[in-house]
């Protein structure tokens, strides 16, 4: 071994490829989110393209190098969902309030980049807690790791992976073609009233995430049952959601069913998420302190021995946080100079605190279930900023952009670190790669939103219900449904109608259940209340199936067969959905 070759990891080809894939996905997925209202995750696409280019085209055999490529690509792309959920609301609101224009491009970019940097540096110290101590499953992270490891896993596991992907592809195509309903409503078939739902969301990825989570995900399913089979019927049958007598019973019941979710379960669930996450962080403080101490000790030891540390040193994290915070203060001040520097500073402080807490919530929720409560937490961010800024829409949305981008970065970084743990990457290299390139995604996503807004004929809006294309029902219509929802919420906020009582009641419950010795219980119950039951139920069936298989066939079966099968289900659906969406958009339908 005299002339040992360097093992490619944090290499120029990996960074360059990750950047190209990331930029392309960001532009495409921003457009798709404006068109369809949902974002797409790109880790699996990046990993597969990494195989094709790095391993196939460039003959570079390195699992960990592909992990870096995928980390960079998803780190860039994750900004698209963060930006597209919040920023377009400012543009849409300017149709009715022309004084909101011209849009403050500088502060928006500062905020988005600040969010990107802060999301990463604030979540890195929790790697040990979430990935090593709590062992959160991060189903998508496990799926990507399974994909990355596939060159060495042998044919048996490859067959399980491919089988899962084939089943998921067939199912996704069948659902998209309408051959299979998106939801199978057993409750309707059994004649149950609409306020006792018993429908299953048909999604291979959702079921696969449940398979990967096993027993750990069970509280999530039980939380859904509590929400929809206890609280919802009690609320409706006890008449807690009164409807005028004049309304037809059937329509009134249907409305009550929706209102139970919108006015009771969802805000209560958000409260549980907040309380559960806060209590979880407090309970984990000794471990986090220990992790930070070990970061410092490792950095010192590495300095002494001359070896490279395994994690980014604390000074890099503090420095990153400081830079991000300064950018956030600048964004807050220049977005609304009339508020003054002191108020801008206050807004930035609260924004930073909220993005840290929300980042932990999203990382935990994604880690446990693969589902992110992004919209609810972003909504709270905008609400907080709206009140702190005295009703200044621009300042609220600009800081909302930072929070939304940051919490997405938290979840993505942690999921990538989970993949890295499973393939043996050095965390420092992953962290450095994502930190170095994280500013690119916000620039691309903001740029695409600006470009699309200005693409409207004769100075008319380029997207939203007021755009010419949408009024005329043309194929180029970009309805921007998420941003429309946020815009209407901001309008409602002007009346001060926020369910503070539910948030507070839920937070106390979330904190109390977190005392129970089951990790992340408050967050899981909160997420179950926040989501429609059909998703929770499909996931829960996956958990129970996994537990049954483990009981019947043992742990080895789970590790060697079920994990690749579940990974295949997640990867197959993600890829098929992306291809399907692109083909559909290409066809103009």
């Amino acid at each position: 071994m005299a002339t040992a070759r360097t093992y490619p990891e944090l290499s120029i080809p990996a960074m360059a490829l990750g950047t190209v894939i990331g930029v392309t996905m960001t532009a495409a997925f921003t457009y798709i989110a404006l068109k369809l209202g949902f974002g797409l995750a790109g880790s699996t696409v990046a990993a597969i393209l990494g195989f094709a280019v790095l391993r196939g085209g460039m003959r570079r055999r390195s699992i960990v190098e592909n992990n870096i490529n995928q980390t960079v690509a998803s780190g860039i792309n994750t900004a698209s969902a963060g930006v597209v959920f919040t920023l377009p609301a400012l543009f849409l609101l300017s149709v009715g309030q022309p004084d909101l224009a011209p849009f403050p491009i500088g502060p928006i970019l500062f905020a988005a980049v600040a969010g990107s940097v802060m999301g990463i540096v604030l979540i890195i110290p929790l790697r040990k807690q979430m990935v090593e101590f709590e062992r959160l499953r991060f189903p998508s992270g496990v799926a990507v790791a399974t994909l990355l490891r596939s060159p060495g896993e042998g044919m048996a596991q490859a067959k399980w992976l491919v089988s899962g992907a084939v089943v998921a592809t067939a199912l996704t195509v069948a659902v998209n073609l309408g051959g299979i309903a998106e939801e199978v409503d057993f409750g309707h078939l059994a004649g149950l009233p609409v306020f006792i739902p018993f429908a299953i969301y048909i999604s291979a990825a959702n079921f696969g995430a449940g398979l990967l989570s096993g027993r750990g995900g069970l509280p999530f399913a039980l939380g859904g049952m509590l929400a929809w089979w206890v609280i919802a019927p009690v609320a409706v049958l006890a008449g807690w959601l009164p409807v005028p007598d004049a309304l037809p019973t059937e329509l009134a019941t249907a409305w009550q069913s929706g209102a139970v979710h919108g006015m009771m379960l969802r805000p209560l669930g958000i409260g549980l998420l907040i309380g559960g996450a806060l209590a979880g962080v407090i309970a984990a403080l000794p471990a986090i302190r220990g992790a930070l101490k070990s970061l410092a000790a490792a950095a010192a030891a590495a300095k002494e021995t001359g070896a490279a540390p395994e994690e980014l040193p604390p000074w890099a994290l503090y420095g990153g946080a400081a830079i991000g915070f300064v950018l956030l203060v600048l964004a807050s001040y220049f977005a609304a100079p009339e508020l003054g520097m002191l108020r801008a500073f206050g807004i930035a402080v609260v924004g930073a605190l909220w993005l840290a807490l929300a980042g932990v919530i999203v990382a935990q929720a994604t880690g446990a279930t693969d589902i992110s409560p992004l919209s609810g937490l972003s909504l709270i961010a905008v609400t907080l900023m709206f009140f702190l800024s005295g009703g200044n829409v621009t300042a609220a949305i600009v800081i909302g952009v930072a929070v939304c981008v940051a919490i997405n970065q938290c979840a993505d970084m942690m999921s990538d670190l989970k993949s890295g743990h499973l393939v043996g990457s050095i965390p420092r290299k992953q962290q450095l790669a994502q930190l170095m390139m994280c500013w690119i995604g916000p620039l691309v996503a903001v740029g695409v939103v600006y470009m699309l807004w200005n693409s409207g004929a004769g100075g008319t809006p380029g997207f939203g219900s007021a755009s010419l294309a949408c009024i005329e029902g043309a194929p180029g219509c970009l309805p921007a449904p998420q941003a429309e929802a946020l815009a209407s919420t901001i309008q409602a906020l002007a009346t001060g109608d926020a369910p503070i009582d539910k948030y507070a009641a839920g937070a106390a419950i979330g904190a109390a259940v977190s005392v129970f010795p089951i990790g992340g219980l408050g967050v899981l119950l909160g997420l179950a209340m926040y989501l429609p039951f059909s998703i929770t139920l499909g996931y829960g069936i996956g958990c129970v199936t996994s537990m049954g298989l483990e009981r019947g066939f043992g742990k080895a079966f789970i590790g060697r067969k079920l994990v690749p099968l579940a990974a295949g289900l997640i990867i197959g659906e993600a890829l098929t959905q992306i291809i399907w969406t692109l083909v559909k958009l290409g066809g103009g339908s």
Partner: protein, 295 residues
């Protein structure tokens, strides 16, 4: 038994507190009622208006098809009326009869619905919005007792649950194959790591070392996974701070074993050798921290 009681208290407590927590305050209830009216009347008006839109005469179409368009509109409106009025939904009238015989009633109904909708909107706009404090107190007046009672049940259940977890964690484990012993597992890992080192050292650059990879795969499922699955027991017994001191290095060792596996797959045995050295050091550190805790 204690664990079962704890779980029962948790479930009961969450049910009671969350159900009470979902109650609406008085003002919120009034708002909900108005929103219901607005939503349902709105959907009816929307349905009627979409019938008119759907049946608009397309430009350039021959007049001969006007009757078809009118028929479509008629069927659509009849469907909307049947959906709105439960009595009419069950009637045996045909769509045409329904619409023609109820034309006047429909116009009145439409006007009534429009009026209800406008009145609901105006009342909603006129409703005073409570500040967070009064809003919370108003809700607390209705659901506060149940909510607090539920929280007490949850906290009592949690305390019992923690006691049960601690008792389970400190119970003697000898003879139980289901509960792996941490130090035994670390010894196995150290021995396996030492056994793999010469195998890897003898591997040529660019070659795989299937035997070492097989050993790592076996360790992952037979030794590492059971310890990881049992982490809650260690946490309950030792507390999170002490647990972190030995489980952190243990996890670092696990990651370095994964690195050895990946680099062997890719044909970089010298990287695998370094990773095995790092894994061994990490497992030794974990063993030392675990022993310190025992002392």
């Amino acid at each position: 038994m204690k664990a079962v009681i704890a779980m029962a208290l948790l479930v009961a407590g969450v049910c009671v507190s969350a159900t009470s927590g979902s109650l609406l305050g008085g003002a919120e209830e009034q708002r909900a009622e108005l929103k219901a009216q607005q939503a349902v009347t709105g959907s009816f008006l929307g349905a009627l208006s979409s019938c008119d839109e759907a049946a608009e005469q397309p430009e350039g179409e021959p007049d001969a098809e006007a009757a078809v368009v009118e028929q479509t509109r008629l069927e659509c409106r009849a469907g909307a009326i049947r959906g709105w009025d439960a009595e009419l939904a069950d009637s045996d009238l045909s769509d045409a009869d329904l619409v023609s015989s109820h034309a006047a009633a429909l116009a009145t109904a439409e006007a009534d619905v429009q009026r209800m909708n406008t009145a609901a909107s105006e009342t909603l706009e006129g409703l005073a919005v409570l500040a967070p404090g009064p809003r919370f107190m108003e809700w607390f007046g209705k659901g506060g007792i149940g909510w607090l009672a539920g929280l007490v049940l949850v906290v009592v259940g949690a305390v019992l649950g923690r006691q049960a977890a601690y008792a389970r964690a400190t119970a003697p484990t000898k003879g139980s194959s289901a509960t792996p012993n941490f130090d035994d597992a670390v010894v196995t890992l150290l021995e396996a790591t030492v056994r793999m080192q010469p195998l890897v050292a003898a591997t040529k650059d660019g070659d795989d070392c299937a035997e070492a990879r097989a050993i790592i795969e076996h360790l992952e499922t037979a030794v590492l996974a059971p310890v990881v699955d049992d982490r809650r027991r260690y946490q309950a017994r030792d507390g999170v701070a002490v647990f972190a001191e030995y489980f952190g290095p243990f996890s670092a060792g696990e990651r370095n074993l994964a690195r050895a596996w990946s680099s062997l797959t890719d044909g970089y045995p010298h990287v695998a050798a370094d990773a095995l050295v790092a894994a061994k050091a990490a497992f030794e550190q974990a063993a030392a921290a675990y022993a310190k805790r025992t002392v």
